[in-house]
Amino acid sequence: MSKLKRHHKIEITAICLLLALSVAFVSFLSVHQFSSHELRVKYFFMEDENAIDVVNIGASEIYTGFSPEYIWHNYGITSYNLATAGAPMRLAKSEVKAAMETQNPKLMVISLNGAMYDDERSTHEGYTRMWLDNMPYSQLREEAIEEWIPEKDRINFRWKILNYHDNVARLTECLQLSWKEFKAKKDQRFLTISGVQGNASTDKKRDIVDISNYNKERKLDKEADKDLTDLLEYLKGEDIKNVIFVNMPRFYDKEMLGSKEKINTAIKKVKSYGYDVYDFDKLVGSIGLDQQHDFYNAAHPNIYGQQKISKYFYENIVPKYVKNHREYSDELVERWNENYDVYTQFYAWADKVIKEKGNSGYYYTYKAIDHIMDGTIDKYEKWLDMKSKIVKKSGEDTEDRESTGSSHDSGSHSDFDLKSGANPDAKSGSSSH
């Protein structure tokens, strides 16, 4: 009898353990957003400690504006775009803390893009999840959850599986991404993108307004104002000096001037705290940017614009703050050189695509990188073409192609997939169910 009881007790324990194992396995498998944002954030936390000299913080204007590989090759400085699509202003404080904890960088570059968002956008769950859900479990993450998320919803952030488990239905993609993540951790080969994302498209012709002397201001929306103030107070309070702010370049038409007015207000506010701000809108001429050649929409440069901005920034601005970079290990140097090789291959492909197709709408995402590394980029291009035709028919958006229309006030660019957990338009951040 007692043997029988023991047998049942063992089985109950085993069932409970198996259940826990299933939860862990499904979490590992399913917590994905199927986007470059996911990898950009996850890989940042996998970098060697204190190996990045410059951390660029912001939204899409950051990862389409700076190419860390190009910068590495030409200026010998390691940098990382710690940026996610449509990132609200409130993420910046948490990202600064993460950068300080893991890299203690020589310079942090913070974009003011989030300052022009309205309240709904500033508190949007989907955009917040792009950062929060890809951070490792840590005190920093818990702080952010408590600060941003209403108490009743916190459980869905603490237990990511609640939100993402049904991604298992996309089993192949889940397996690919989980394997990629596993391999990245195991082989320490995760620097392949360093946050860069490029675009092989050109912008449509628009009536551009000259804003070189446009200084009109507009009140920031409540949440954005609060978040910017909070960030500045934090930086001031912690005496963090290695920070500069930027307003990345855009080409404005009349409809977009409201955004510019908000940016002017934000710039004034940042200056009042004693921090340097670089308004790239006013440096468009100096950088040599051409709207129809260097941009793929109003707020986002393509691969050509990305190189021009990176070049200008690292030749004229960064040297003022980073006098000399750290000592890099041989292994790190080798890794960055490999990354540059991948980048040049991508650049060549994107250049070819732009010349052949003009407004292609293709992005330099993690998928493109994988294909370049595997030598299957031609196959990928064919697949993109086919998908592009389907998209044109159905009018849907996908990971690899986004409407090249102006993103106007939103100023954002995302490579989110409509079905993914990262879909900012899905309130729950989950599937369409």
């Binding site: 049942h8 396995f25 488990h165 049904d166 298992v168």
Partner: protein
Amino acid sequence: MTFNTLTFIGFFVAVLVLYYLVPKRFQWVFLLMSSYFFYLYAGPKFVIFMLITTVTSWYGALMIDKNHVRESEVLKENKEIFTKEIKKDFKAREKQKRKRILITILVVNFGILFFLKYLNFFTENLNHIISPLTDGGQIPRLNLILPLGISFYTFQTMSYVIDVYWKKVRAERNIAKVALFVSFFPQILQGPIGRFGDLAPQLYQERKADAQQIKYGIQLMIWGYFKKLVIADRVAIAANHMFGDGGYDQMSGSVVALCVFLYAIQDYTDFSGCIDIARGAAQCMGINMAENFKRPYFSRTLPEFWRRWHMTLGTWMKDYVFYPFSLSGRVRNMSKWIKEHSKEPKEGKIGLGKHLGGTLPIALGNILVFFLVGVWHGSAWNYIIWGLYYGVLIAISGLLKPVFEGMNRALHINVKSKPWQLWQIIRTFWFTCVACIIFRADTMTDAWNIFAKSMHFWQLPQNYVQEYLSMGLVVADAFVIPASILILFVADVMQEHMFVRGWLERRSFILRYAIYFIGFLFIVGLGIYGPGFDQSQFVYMGF
């Protein structure tokens, strides 16, 4: 705190551990506290109605029981003194007193149920009638919220009072124990509707943890979660699209028929899944609750279907409505009258008149029962029509039984053959699918349109992909839904022939744990749960 939330799982684990840790004599008190906590968590204001039911049924049952005792004592003491007539008279007077108490309790409790559940339905219909007479004047609609599980606990508690009245059980003197019987948390949401004689002694019993019971309980809960999260909530997506907002308009006949089928699956897996979770949770605490489902879609006739579907409501109706009605004096007299006035049948044959005399009380009883089953489900005409649909069909099948049997004989149908039995199962399932349409459709016009369209089931979609997506499903569902329904089917077939959990126990270690693991992966990975899912509400919680 529905069963498919982490809060419930955390709550249940805590209750289970503490239940076996508290001193045994306080176990039932702890269960009572846990049950009230569970109920109060849903909203403190609802508890007042449950308290009224508890107090009135406890006091009423006690009064009835005391009267029974007093009557026996008086009869015993005056055995020699009372004449037969005095004895009869005394008994009739005492019965009258008990009846008054019973009726008061029933009126109060069913009155609360009627007030909260049916008043607005009643006034709406009354407004339709009186509107022309009152120049458009209307009786105002009250803003009433239905307390959680009120239909279930009211029926369960009233069965206790009636059983005491019928001397089937003795009244419980301790009000707290009655309170536990009324509020026991696993069953408060959706039943099963327990009987005092079966359930109460188990609730109050002192017990040690029994590993086998806990294991079986956990297994049953896992199976319930599989049915609810993987099947019910997934197929609900398609069913909701079809039934909601005239979605069927855009669908071809075959897709509408498919959605009706999926809704029938949803209805079964949602309700039976919840019951499995409830029964499993109770079993972990050593309490065996009544079975409520016995593979109903394998039924060969509608009466059999109702002996396998929502069994505790069925037996409640049978015991407290059907028999009292069918065996009542007036109905018996009517039956007798028909029999007396029908022709003598030819030798060796059953006369239709005689048959009618025997089956008419049953037929009328069935119509009444199913009318009430419809009313029990909710305050809307579609529920009443749904109930009557079953009642009339079952009544007709009973009344015309000789005709059908004659047809079978004439057509030389072997009613014991497997193909005939399979046909009967399919036929019964089709009737239940039609009932599902009535039950679920927003209006009777919708119900008719859906029915008509589903009858064109051979009409294939013009654009398969578009129609598939119009059901709101994603690509993966095309694999997950059939696979999970197949698992359900296999498990149900096995359950027809064996005790599956016992069978599982006899399997090899590897096979057993592989089954567990696959089951967990299905539930955790493919279950519909988490933020933003309306389907998480259990269908029968609304009743």
